[in-house]
Symmetry: C2
């Protein structure tokens, strides 16, 4: 029931369903989701994270020119008079807006777990919806190079270890990528366009990506082939750094050189933090968003036959806060794709029998002979005392409940309290304290 994304049921005039690409969360699904939230936020707190919550919509201006080609996926609110607003597309831009508004905050580590909105084609099996949760952690402030970046990668390892999911972290650096494009002869104004084509190499073969570059984006075939020589390379960090350094043409480019220096620093930190083993430097990783300026990364689950793609991604975005006309604050962050993690963990767990079941601590029943009046007020008085001391308590909402009904309902309870009419009339009652002790609280 609960895993259907948009269950439908017709009625006169309109459909009874959730909007396309959205879903309800209930029962076991919701409990698993909340456990994922709890696990991640515990780890983020361990790294000094403080929570932030922002409105679900932002002024439209705040979102504009931040997402490149993906801007078309932004949900707008209707113009009903007043300000023009749009639903948030991610949690990064609202965080940058908050930082720009609070110029007294020079350094902060914030986390944010909330829904974001994208008018994308939904694909339920892959955990891709139009309304979905993200869980972001970002470190803002001026620090020595690559130290916060290394801690973010360490956090990724801790999170997926906690979920017992094997992952690979794909890593690249915008400086290496941009410098590489320059070296190959990609015109400056086509950098982001070609970058976004290259990013599709995890889903499409090189021939198709090349075709897009040449036919749709007007890159010369010679330049495209030159780009292809580089972006198909990947491997362990130290190994790839050596390959890049050995390429004289590349290394002569100042931008690439800066990127390689960052990577050398980073790999030493990742070794100290025991993270390097699962990292792959992948020159095809580009990330669609415009605002990244340094290190970029994606986390790929190492599970056979899964349709789920990257389950966490992020990077460094030193220029974003400055785009709001304030002093720039360098930032680096990670966004966990909670719904995709859910999809992976959900296929692993065995489904429970009932999706909306819950456990009861105490169920109060009443029985009696011919003159039995249901003892409703008496059941209420007992319930009230148990609620008073914090015990989860239920009783049948019937004046005269049938015995069988009550037995069925009490099945999931830890303890049943039975009120017998004769016993009550004879003054034989058990104190609430005794019940309290019996359920072992």
């Amino acid at each position: 029931m609960a895993t259907q994304a948009s269950a439908t049921s017709s009625r006169a005039g309109s459909q009874l369903k959730t909007p396309k690409g959205t879903r309800d969360w209930v029962g076991q699904d919701l409990l698993l989701r909340d456990r994922i939230f709890q696990t991640i936020s515990d780890i983020l707190k361990r790294h000094g994270g403080i929570p932030l919550d922002t409105p679900v919509f932002e002024l439209r201006d705040i979102l504009s020119e931040k997402y490149g080609e993906d801007s078309r996926l932004i949900y707008n609110l209707e113009n009903q008079g007043g300000e023009l607003c749009s639903l948030r597309y991610d949690l990064t831009v609202p965080f940058a807006r908050w930082l720009a508004m609070h110029s007294n905050v020079k350094q902060v580590r914030r986390y944010h777990i909330a829904k974001v909105y994208r008018r994308d084609q939904p694909a339920i099996a892959r955990g891709r919806l139009r309304e979905f949760y993200q869980c972001d952690f970002d470190i803002a402030g001026v620090y020595d190079p690559m130290i916060p970046d290394a801690e973010i990668l360490r956090i990724i390892v801790e999170v997926f270890q906690a979920f017992k999911l094997d992952v690979t972290i794909k890593l690249n650096h915008r400086k290496i990528l941009d410098g590489l494009f320059e070296t190959c002869g990609v015109p400056q104004e086509k950098l982001r366009l070609i970058s976004s084509s290259v990013d599709k190499l995890d889903k499409l073969p090189w021939a198709e990506v090349k075709k897009e570059m040449v036919e749709e984006k007007g890159l010369s075939e010679i330049v495209a082939d030159e780009v292809g020589k580089y972006v198909l390379q990947k491997g362990a960090m130290r190994e790839m750094i050596n390959v890049l350094k050995a390429d004289e043409k590349l290394h002569a480019n100042a931008t690439v050189k800066g990127g390689i220096e960052d990577m050398e620093l980073l790999v030493s930190y990742l070794e100290a933090l025991d993270v390097d083993r699962i990292v792959s430097l992948d020159l095809s990783l580009a990330r669609g968003l415009d605002y990244y300026s340094g290190l970029i990364y994606e986390v790929i689950p190492q599970i056979k036959d899964t349709q789920v793609g990257s389950i966490a991604a992020g990077g460094r975005y030193d220029g974003l806060v400055g785009m709001y006309g304030k002093q720039p604050i360098p930032c680096v962050g990670i966004s966990f794709g909670v719904d995709r993690i859910f999809t992976l963990l959900d296929t692993q767990r065995k489904k429970g029998t009932s999706d909306i079941s819950h456990e009861t601590e105490v169920y109060i029943m009443a029985f009696g002979g011919k003159e039995f009046d249901g003892l409703l007020l008496e059941r209420m008085r007992v319930a009230r005392q148990l609620w008073d001391v914090g015990i989860q308590t239920e009783f049948a909402a019937k004046v005269k409940p049938k015995p069988q009904q009550q037995f069925n309902a009490s099945d999931s309870a830890l303890l049943a309290v039975i009120l017998g009419q004769e016993e009550l009339e004879a003054g034989q009652t058990t104190s609430v304290t005794a019940v309290y002790e019996m359920i072992g609280e």
Copy 2:
């Protein structure tokens, strides 16, 4: 900082702020808010509640014709192709939609804590925003009359006792109200219109409400005066029930009679549940929403000089689920105005010094003599071991941090781990287990 609803800061071209009537949540504010959520949901679980989460927007059809005059306050999403959607206005209609979609669910007690959206005039001091949290609990299913209703009122008492807030519950019954209007001669087609005028009696004097009824809504002055005789009455339940029963004209109306029978049953239950003392039967309470069909109630804080109005409200809505063309399921529920409760508790608490402060368990420092290289990799290795055992750990993200900087940063930490270059070189190190024991985990 965090309590400003829409802090502004100009920049070239557009404003740097959250949209009108929305706010960010951070630091102490967010912690207090989450404590409110936790307190309420603990009580709701104690009463058998299971959580449900629904999308932030619904198909527009689902929301239409549910809110009467208030429909104009609904936020619509722009038509960008595809389905027409609107932001949810409350959590009740999405629950009814969910129930209608799942006809196998015959009985459920669900709670839902989430943001809702109303294009209302914001009033920050009174805790009224355009994006605000609601916390809803509803009992759906066929039961004997007034038993679930009484339990909802009991839950109200438990929640506000937990917050140590004195409250009054204002109570009325749609059947009594509608029958009373009929008896006075209000035409059938004006029932809801006149009802919504009467509902304003908590803010406006009778003279103005009467004026609205007569001049704006076309009620004859004689009928208006007749209505006035009744709706200004309120008092303890048993007392008011006797007043209503003594009025022969009223009691002759079958609808009123049904309402009074419900109230007699309810008062006996409220006595058993120890709730009756704070309840006032108030004939002016009408509630704006169209979907209520039985008991209605509002919770008013008993605090001097507060501008905050009702902090929880709800009622019985037996017809709503049936509006979706499915078998009707009777429902009764309560919605807690979490932001208003926040406003009340926030004025009570003393503000902390820093809004984004957090506690650190361990802070790792390093010192050395002339040859000091900062020991960054060593600090990382120690941090990694502490993170591995779940200890919250931080260190300066600097290659060579200054001693003073590190001392300042370690001020809020429970324990500082100091790495001395000479000691390390001499092999004198403390094990992580020792640190673990020192912070007493």
